[in-house]
Symmetry: C2
Subunit: 430 residues, 2 copies
């Protein structure tokens, strides 16, 4: 882990530099993805079959899994895993229910009313990565908010492999009540969802994490369909004071670091003693981790121990970082909540360890990364609805604002706009 | 205008084809924009000055307008225009206030609480196009929702020209209480807002319409900063029955058509008689419009008179189109509201003419185009906030879910996640 101490401005600029690197483009991949999308748009299923053979080394006649195949996968999963997924589902539902929004209508004295309707998207596609990145918890996190929003059809795509789709992914799909599962992956899956093919229905929005090809494809179809944010490497920031337990802090830093060699784990504290103890604990705990090669690489490259003078500086640094996950392992943690302006998911106190949010608290684990918590939100029910404005005017009410409308329209050089109002009063003036 | 009658499926597929064309890419512009962004990122103000000289033919020392320059522009605007903008502001504020969202906290019996905070973005950039596309109403529509959301700093960029920034734009900026105005435009303005330069501060989100260079640049910086939707050509769909007034319908269709040669104006009705009358009225009203060349071109290329058999078909077609603006000029219009699933802004009844929404009703006129109302929303207060999740657990509450968390973490191969929970109970078990 790298130590950063001293001047606040230098620390912030060093951290900003480290984050910036994640936003680089890869033109070669962009071009390749563009061609894949074009092929799927033009040739539909035929292109899908070809790409699946080339990239996934699997020949498929049908992309869609049958109910029986999903059911069989579910039955092969250990009962305690099913039970744990069911508890997770219950908590995800109870948290996300609170995000539901309702229409409003604002009636004025003159008979005018204006309002906002909240309407669900009709069809949503959820991308679920294959291989070791196939997480059943992510299936629940992506699908359940869409279900609460009222989306009629939630379809899942996931790359095929000779070993088949992992049973636990099928179990999660069943538990989340996914409406259909298709075995396609990569940029071709994103293209199929965006344009529709003979066998894959076009969706209104695509969500879910994926590798660089999936992320690039999502960015390219953005606008044609909605997409969720483009996820970067996982991040944790921990704010800790001298009373924090270094064993807990180290364990939580490592839980992020094991995700990925690019994962970022950052401690910010006023206690030099704590930072030293955490450093020792990290080294100790790392030794026995199964994924210690990944975690070690992440800690070496991106792990940071930042020691500052004041609590105010701790919060300034964290707000500048805008981490995906933020733990507050400080005395009276709730009292500090109002100082946090930028963070995806905030965990308060020694026992709100970040993995509780990954699996069980019910808050979403699909979160803004790489500093984007400054402007993006966790995945939520609001991502699966859209609003429609509603306006009603009476003739009398329109007359009251006729002059203001026509003055502005003419000032903007839009005579037909002014006349659309004028014609409604022409009879009267004759 | 083109007549479409007959089979519903054919009509829908023809309309879909017409919409699809708007989503094409232009690789040459993409490359050019990529280079502009790169230059601004690396060379800052120096690159901005160079591009401004090349594209806008203006040499600038300072990009920022002084308070006095804005004030002077404001004072040169006719008092009745100022008054109309003030009425518009009042209505925009009263409508958008209703969109404000509040935090929630959900406390459980075991001491656990989970919640969601709603926090404003800190700094937002609003792009305002130059020339004839400089609309003061759009300044209000983009800036005021950000102000209501609590954004601390709303800055405006707009292309310089030898004639200076239009007075009415400066007046709108003052009325909307924009915090700073910078004279820069095009892709270079978007790049400056996304990366920050010596004189332009980096923002969290960029909103506002622009030409193809601006739209392409916004798409390229998406992810580094937030952006609003990419706007396509303006659209209106009108649902009308036999009692609708063809003069009103024609005038409203033309108010969209005058925007742009690519604008789409579409009538859907069960009344062949009404469609004929509207066609005649459009031809008549077109003759005397100042922008009749534009409106005529739009009507010829994209104007449609669609006559169907049943009201159900009318709604099926409109929901398939998902128009930016949708008028319901039908008897008892409110009774049809529940049938509309996809539309940016809905205008009910003969006197809710679409331009009332462009200027004065207070609903937003920045709306999803090209069928994207299926998944995008009007610009609103929600576009200028982000959410943070909050989770608090006690030791006892964590113990209750310890097993479920560690089972799922280990099933996903994430041992460090499981251990982050386990370490919190190790003392106890010894």
């Amino acid at each position: 882990m790298k130590w950063l101490t001293g001047n606040l401005i230098d620390i912030l600029s060093e951290l900003k530099q480290a984050q910036r690197n994640t936003n680089e483009e890869n033109q070669q991949i962009e071009q390749q993805v563009r061609e894949i999308i074009q092929q799927v748009n033009v040739n539909g299923d035929q292109a899908l079959r070809q790409f699946t053979e080339n990239f996934d080394k699997v020949q498929l006649e049908n992309f869609k899994l049958s109910k029986e195949e999903i059911e069989e996968g579910y039955r092969r999963v250990e009962p305690e895993v099913i039970r744990a997924l069911e508890v997770a589902k219950k908590n995800i539902l109870s948290y996300h229910q609170k995000q539901k929004q309702y229409d409003f209508m604002d009636h004025e004295k003159n008979g005018v009313f204006r309002g906002q309707r909240v309407l669900p998207l009709e069809r949503v596609g959820v991308y679920v990565p294959g291989g070791t990145a196939a997480y059943p918890s992510s299936v629940l996190m992506n699908v359940l908010p869409a279900k609460i929003a009222g989306v009629k059809e939630v379809i899942m795509v996931t790359p095929p492999s000779k070993a088949g789709i992992p049973d636990v992914i099928l179990a999660a799909a069943k538990i989340a009540e996914v409406d259909a599962v298709y075995q396609i992956g990569g940029a071709q899956a994103v293209a199929a969802l965006a344009y529709g093919t003979e066998s894959i229905p076009k969706v209104d929005k695509i969500v879910g994490p994926g590798n660089i090809f999936v992320a690039t494809a999502k960015k390219q179809v953005f606008g044609l369909v909605g997409i969720d944010m483009i996820a970067g490497p996982s991040e944790i920031g921990i704010l800790a004071d001298e009373q924090a337990n270094p064993v807990f802090v180290a364990a939580d830093l490592l839980s992020q670091a094991e995700h990925d060699k690019l994962a970022r784990a950052i401690l910010v504290t006023t206690s030099h003693k704590l930072a030293l103890e955490v450093e020792t604990e990290v080294a100790k705990q790392l030794k026995t981790l199964p994924r210690n090669e990944i975690a070690q690489a992440a800690m070496d490259a991106f792990g940071k121990l930042i020691v500052v003078e004041t609590q105010q500086e701790m919060f300034d640094i964290m707000n500048g970082l805008a981490p995906e996950h933020l733990e507050v392992q400080m005395e009276d943690p709730v009292s500090h909540l109002h100082k946090i302006r930028n963070a995806g998911s905030i965990f308060l106190g020694a026992y709100a360890s970040e993995p509780v949010g990954d699996y069980l608290s019910g808050t979403n684990h699909v979160l803004p990364t790489s500093g984007t918590a400054k402007f993006y939100s966790p995945l939520g029910v609001y991502d699966f609805v859209k609003y429609s404005q509603v306006t009603y005017y009476t003739k009398e009410a329109l007359k009251e604002v006729k002059e203001a409308i026509t003055i502005l329209a003419r000032k903007e050089g839009l005579e037909a706009h002014a006349r659309a109002i004028d014609v409604r009063f022409e009879e009267e003036e004759k």
